[in-house]
Symmetry: C2
Subunit: 209 residues, 2 copies
């Protein structure tokens, strides 16, 4: 009886430890939040936000309604996990307005927040120390025979497994944002100066987890 009781309590302890230390990913399917850079390092923070987030809001100019801005929820990827290149790639169908609008007027912006990563704690999503990033530039359709399209498809499918099974009849196409301007707020005192060159030259050949 004593041996049996110890055996039961041991297996309960093991199970309990598994539950306690499991990674929280299963809670909502969101990427894990770890390794947030020092807010003083603007390039690291911007690249981390792009590497960690799986979705954002892509804004284009609506040709249906006389030039109003139109923000749309989209998934994206800048590389296979741990090897982000900083360029956001998208998998869009012209059944959705964003791709259609971009083919008429390619001016667009892509906006990300730290808040859904879970690392802002109890801070308000609009608190400047809860980082936010807007990449502004041109949304370009990739040639689907190019090596960049191959890279982008691997980037997208590795982070968004269901994409490879999306209906062929919807004619999904790969787009990228050519970044021209970067707006990053990650602390008090206004946006951090950050050029596309600084953004892209951050940690070359170093994985951004």
């Amino acid at each position: 009886m004593e041996v049996q009781s110890i055996a039961v309590s041991s297996s309960v302890v093991v199970f309990f430890l598994i539950v306690l230390f499991r990674v929280p990913e299963a809670v909502s399917g969101r990427p894990l939040a770890y390794g947030k850079p020092d807010p003083k390092d603007a390039a690291a923070t911007a690249r981390w936000l792009v590497a960690q987030n799986s979705w954002g809001v892509l804004s284009t100019i609506s040709s249906d309604s006389g030039g109003s801005p139109f923000g749309n929820v989209v998934s994206f990827s800048d590389g296979v996990p741990g090897e982000g290149c900083g360029i956001p790639y998208f998998y869009l169908t012209q059944l959705d307005p964003t791709a259609r609008y971009a083919l008429v007027d390619e001016r667009s912006s892509f906006t990300l927040s730290e808040f859904p990563l879970g690392s802002c704690g109890k801070k308000d999503p609009e608190n400047p120390s809860c980082a936010k990033l807007t990449l502004t530039g041109k949304l370009k359709l990739l040639d689907n025979q190019s090596s960049e399209a191959e890279f982008a498809q691997n980037a997208l499918f590795s982070k968004h497994a269901e994409m490879k099974d999306w209906p062929k009849s919807h004619n999904f196409q790969i787009f990228k944002l050519e970044i021209e301007d970067i707006f990053l707020v990650d602390w008090f005192g206004g946006p951090k100066p950050l050029s596309p060159d600084q953004y892209f030259s951050f940690a070359k050949n170093v994985a951004v987890a």
Copy 2:
């Protein structure tokens, strides 16, 4: 020895149960997702997304860069919890570009996703059954002496407690989105037709939790 072992295993089981069944809110401070409407009910779904989310992306036209769209992460509220009116109110400073842009060109859109609420499970954020909403219209500065401004301030401060302590020197002002068009995707088969009248007449006098 036997009694001690049983006592230890019992306390471990209790602790394990607490860990297993704790509410997930503590993981990231996000609002809990409950009561998602039937996707067939477009008005209910749109109002639920607005009532449940605490932040979104507000897109305006950038007067700094020749009319490009500019999406920005902002907090918002449409009412005290359980009493949302459907109008998104914002607390913005002209130190941030969005308020400045809106005062030059008030055309704007506000975009929300179901994904950060946690109720999309393992679905991709771009999967049509993970709901997304874009409200398009005009971003208007409220007269701070009006009764609407008083309502809006209660709406904002009740959901964003730290706002009341934000620096007076930043001159935060209350804006609202006057909704003219609604883009809602909450299932397969394209956007759901939903007029502003249908959106606003949903569940009048009924709490939208």
